[in-house]
């Protein structure tokens, strides 16, 4: 009898857990669209044009999620959020997912009851210098003056980096990024430091962008990615595997452009990705063609990267550290099997 009750109790708990964890997906499906928290405007990541159309890497991530769920990448409501408001909006269930250039840190997971699903963009602090200086490495910045925004982690990272490398430098701080940029442009300092993604955006505002380069050195870790609440593991899986499917597709060479051809592929890995074999989509709570929908309506990770921040954009950020693990970067997704 004890055993029977035990089993029944376990079954009850399992049932309760399943229903609790199915809530977000069901809420999204019942509502008919996804609610996605994005930044208020950051070139290449999430920005609204004069027609009210959102675009960017973070925005395309939300569209990919909508494509997987609804087979319609437009079923997304974008909620622009300030840095201060972003995590609260997620905790209070105003949004289903936060896709807003947010850095994955331990504290944000342990104290805010949130969970980062994956890394959609490896950012980090770097340096912009004038090409005429003929500097190709941050280690050549000894005794140079460096402009940055005051009171940021950038200022602290800068001090750490130069201390670790036993180099001296002169820091010139400003209350805002714009003022730091103006000072750099005006020749007050030989380098400007900030997160690399921001340096590329700032470079487009300079008179002659091509007179400046962003050094390949990265002196801090800023892994950015989508965030969800901790109470819904099923939803976490959907958010996580949306990113992984786009990276896996990039690695397999399956893109928006060649999807029809890929649907005829005999390669087992491609067939599993596209739902031609296995039941992976159904196990996720979606349909088996979930990843094929993402690829058709949004594209693979490389396409999304190049379109928004890479060779197809004004920013021109090299794939660099965000290249696939087998092509020079560290983007790596577990296999679908």
């Amino acid at each position: 009898m004890m055993l029977k009750h035990g089993v029944a109790a376990l079954a009850l708990i399992a049932f309760a857990a399943t229903t609790a964890s199915a809530q977000t997906l069901k809420a999204v499906q019942d509502r008919g669209h996804l609610i996605c928290g994005v930044s208020e405007g950051l070139p290449g990541f999430s920005a609204k044009d004069d027609k009210g159309q959102w675009s960017g890497l973070d925005v395309d991530y939300c569209r990919a999620l909508a494509a997987a769920i609804f087979n319609d990448a437009t079923k997304v409501e974008f909620v622009p959020l300030s840095a201060e408001a972003r995590f609260g909006a997620l905790q209070s269930k105003k949004i289903d997912v936060l896709s807003r250039n947010s850095t994955w840190t331990m504290g944000r997971e342990t104290s805010l009851n949130l969970i980062f699903a994956a890394v959609s963009y490896y950012d980090g602090q770097g340096f912009m210098v004038r090409k005429a200086l003929k500097i190709e490495s941050a280690l050549e910045l000894a005794n140079k003056s460096i402009c940055t925004k005051s009171g940021t982690t950038s200022e602290l990272n800068l001090a750490d980096y130069f201390r670790d490398n036993r180099l001296t430098y002169k820091v010139v701080t400003f209350p805002s990024a714009d003022e730091a940029l103006k000072a750099y442009d005006g020749g007050r300092c030989e380098a400007l430091t900030s997160d690399v993604s921001q340096l590329y955006a700032l470079r487009t505002e300079l008179g002659t962008p091509r007179d400046h380069i962003i050094l390949p050195d990265i002196i801090s870790k800023e892994p950015l990615g989508p965030v969800v609440r901790q109470d819904d593991v099923k939803w976490l899986n959907i958010v996580k595997w949306t990113q992984f499917a786009m990276v896996d597709a990039d690695e397999m060479g399956v893109s928006r452009r060649n999807l029809d051809q890929a649907m005829k592929s005999q390669k087992p890995s491609v067939r599993r990705l596209l739902g031609l074999e296995g039941d992976f989509g159904k196990q996720l709570g979606l349909t088996n063609d979930w990843a094929a929908r993402i690829l058709r309506l949004v594209g693979n990770y490389g396409e999304v990267f190049e379109r928004n921040v890479g060779t197809g954009s004004k920013l021109g950020i090299p794939r660099g550290i965000n290249q696939l693990w087998n092509k020079g970067g560290i983007q790596y997704a577990p296999p679908i099997r």
Binding site: P216, G253, V270, E303, E306, P318, K327, I330
Partner: protein
């Protein structure tokens, strides 16, 4: 031997194809035939920032000095070690003319001559049978011969083709870029050519 380089014949697919800021995957062919004799001006040779020569983060187990060519990305990397490489924007072979392999640089030539092969003459009878090296030559300012293959890493008099799949399997850089790369690459340099995985 330099004759296989450059394009054989490409139909004018899209007459007004945008030249800059295209994602490689969106632009397979640029409807532009060879223009022997055309001399590009320095402004044309200045690439869009996304394709211009620059040091980048690059993780590899290949030793410093190695050239890694990524056909799908339209970039040539000269490995520097310590997770860095100098990256050059390139034009690559069009679909059906892409290949992969490991070779060594076997020969270097400044301002190479150009001899279009008979099949190319058949398609484009107006082409010269032979053209001396010089600023209007489709092979550009320098050529690096890849092993015993018919392929080269060379310059171009059509800088607007960088970032596109246009050649018959050769890799083209702008003339300023190939002039920059040339002295950094001794004979015997390892060349790794990668192309996209098959479906």
């Amino acid at each position: 031997m330099t004759r296989f380089c450059v394009l054989l014949s490409v139909l004018l697919v899209i007459a007004a194809a945008p030249i800059h800021a295209q994602s490689p995957s969106d632009t397979d062919m640029l409807g532009l035939p060879d223009q022997p004799g055309y001399v590009p001006n320095p402004a044309e040779e200045q690439l869009d920032v996304a394709f211009e020569r620059q040091p980048v983060f690059y993780r590899t187990t290949e030793p410093p000095g190695t050239i890694v060519i990524s056909t799908s990305q339209r970039f040539l990397y000269l490995v520097q070690g310590n997770n860095r490489a100098i990256r050059y924007g390139i034009g690559v072979g069009r679909v059906g003319f892409q290949w992969s392999g490991v070779h060594r640089i076997s020969r270097k030539k400044e301002w190479p001559d150009w001899t279009p092969p008979p099949e190319m003459i058949a398609r484009q009878p107006y082409l010269p049978r032979w053209m001396a090296g010089g600023p209007g030559n489709p092979l550009g300012a320098r050529a690096l011969y890849i092993g015993k293959t018919v392929y080269r890493i060379h310059g171009t008099n059509q800088p607007q083709t960088i970032g596109h799949a246009v050649s018959s399997g050769c890799f083209r850089l702008t003339n300023p870029d190939i002039i920059d790369l040339f002295p950094r690459v001794p004979i015997g340099t390892k060349v790794v050519v990668q192309h996209a995985s098959a479906l």
